[in-house]
Amino acid sequence: MKKFMFVNRKAPYGTIYALESLEVVLIAATFDQDVSLVFLDDGVYELAKGQDTQGIGIKNHSKTYRALDGYDVEKLYVERESMQARGLSEDDLIVDVEVLSSAEMAALMAEQDVVLSF
């Protein structure tokens, strides 16, 4: 089993990256790999609670993060600095995450076999 890390650094709807990342995460999970998701920079916004996309006619994919533990994807990490800079706290996020400092995040990244960036 290899360690796969998905690094999410984009806001949810302005680009296709957030949705594409989710799709690849689900694929990786079906191959029984050790999958971690990381949310950095604007990627933290992907997890913001209360997203309502009715007005923009795009599917609200934020609920999919809640389904991840059904695929045994349970390692979700948020960088504290990114979260705080955006005025968010753990209570504002749609799923339970582990909040890490930049140094802790860097260490986690360094121990991966494969890092995929979105």
């Binding site: 984009k10 806001a11 949810p12 709807y13 302005g14 680009t15 920079d41 604007d42 916004y45 913001a48 609670k49 209360g50 997203q51 309502d52 996309t53 009715q54 007005g55 923009i56 795009i58 609200n60 934020s62 800079a85 955006r86 005025g87 968010l88």
Partner: protein, 99 residues
């Protein structure tokens, strides 16, 4: 002139360039990922306070709602719907989109 910005101010320099070149009295409309600059935490890092002193600043509400940040709207920014977007384009003699 109406300036339209659709990128996050933390991801690209679109908003910074717009603010550098927009003249006093111009209007700024934040849409798509540009709306993060209109949140309280975003406004501080985007330099929006200074912009509000000399520009009329609008934000597209459906884009705020989609991103779950409508409750964090910064003071002084006017939220508009799609009809308001069309009105802004019609009211101004020209407009520029900062991609």
């Amino acid at each position: 002139m109406l300036h339209i910005v659709n990128k996050s101010h933390r991801q690209t320099s679109s908003l910074a360039s717009c603010l550098r070149l927009a003249q006093d009295g111009h209007a700024l409309l934040l849409i798509e990922d540009g709306v993060y600059a209109a949140t309280t935490a975003g406004a501080a890092s985007a330099g929006l306070a200074e912009a509000l002193a000399r520009l009329k600043v609008y934000v597209l509400r459906p884009d705020l709602e989609a991103r779950g940040v409508a409750a964090a709207l910064a003071e002084g920014v006017t939220a508009v719907d799609y009809t308001g977007f069309v009105d802004l384009v019609a009211e101004h003699t020209n407009n520029q989109t900062w991609l």
